[in-house]
Symmetry: C2
Subunit: 192 residues, 2 copies
DNA sequence: CTCGTGTCGTAACAGCTGTTACGGTAACAG
DNA sequence: CTGTTACCGTAACAGCTGTTACGACACGAG
């Protein structure tokens, strides 16, 4: 029996319930059912429901951060890195669409949870700082700080819109919007 | 006893609970307490909880739409109208900040509610079409459709970020971001 | 083998949930 | 005044919630 990966298993079950059934049905019994176990294992692994949500939230943050760092390391130029990092924040496939829904659920749950809102703020400020560094390295035409805020709010809003209405915001629309904005900010290399 | 305004009174109570206590504590008893009545009045006015949420959701949509239409009618030019309409979508004061939180709560609740997600899509598409008309009238440098998507996703994302972390996204940051983006899209009049 | 320990399923608990049924009461018609 | 009707507070119901207590089982130590 895996003792190590069960925290992660339960956190992924939290994601599944959150993405498919929403925040209101995010109960311990639903999580246990999604994980294929009983509530006994859940309560044995976590002291209470809030701790389970915190772990799932932090694991989501670390997962996306690892993916972003890999993309950033694999990019050939600062501008390519910026585009790749922003690109993965959109809702372009079932994976990232579900992630956006889960992220939104956690944010809505954070309204009444002091720990969740603190985790959101820490993660969001780190994300903003990371994109800010990439923007500065990419040398935009305008103020890098304002450009950074414009880009991250746009990406997150687009992911939320696309998750809630995939037909109205298909991948082509999202990528066209992102590339157009990057170009308007002078963050794309001239074609040639 | 007001028979007419009680639906609106209860819907505003729904907003209050949603903004201050979050989606998880949005119970009929909490709504009744916020409205200063008992559950009997709530269940007499609405057949069930979902109908109450639907009414509150639709009232929020109509409220913002009326405000947007007034701003649009009062603007002197298409570009001024566009900026005013986008400006009111940001979270710049307690009023609009709470609205953003409530909007986000409804969107999170819509994951498991077929009616709410349908209402969101209808409202969002109407909003997108409205901004699209303003963008076209304002004659941007780039593709109006893509510019429209960029602007509405950015505004909604900024409102969500600001509602969740007001210190990191003060009004000056949001407005600077919006004006910078409008300028980058060629949607601001030259200063003179 | 026995024993202890960690793991986890089962069952129960109190509390809260949406919803329903019922009773009182105010307003209004005659 | 009486009777009717709509309104709404009170109380209850079954069901679900998070959490706890307890027992079964596996497994390694001695």
């Amino acid at each position: 029996m895996p003792r190590e990966g069960q925290g992660e298993l339960l956190s992924r079950a939290v994601w599944d319930v959150l993405a498919q059934q929403g925040l209101e049905r995010l109960t311990i019994r639903a999580v246990a059912a999604a994980a294929g176990c009983t509530t006994g294992l859940v309560m044995h692994r976590f002291p209470n429901r809030r701790a389970l949500l915190r772990h799932a939230r932090q694991l989501l943050h670390e997962t996306t951060r690892a993916r972003v760092e890999a993309l950033e390391a694999a990019a050939g130029s600062p501008r390519a890195a910026l585009r790749a990092v922003l690109h993965q924040g959109l809702a372009l496939d079932p994976q990232t669409t579900a992630e956006s829904t889960v992220w939104l659920g956690f944010l809505a749950a954070a309204v009444a949870d002091e720990d969740l809102i603190a985790m959101h703020r820490a993660g969001n400020r780190a994300w903003r700082a990371r994109v800010g560094r990439l923007v500065e390295a990419a040398a935009p035409r305008q103020d890098p700080a304002a450009v950074t805020v414009a880009l991250i709010t746009m990406v997150e809003g687009a992911a939320a819109f696309a998750a809630a209405d995939p037909e109205a915001y298909p991948p082509a629309v999202q990528t066209a919007m992102l590339d157009l904005t990057l170009d308007a900010f002078g963050l794309t290399d001239p074609v040639g």
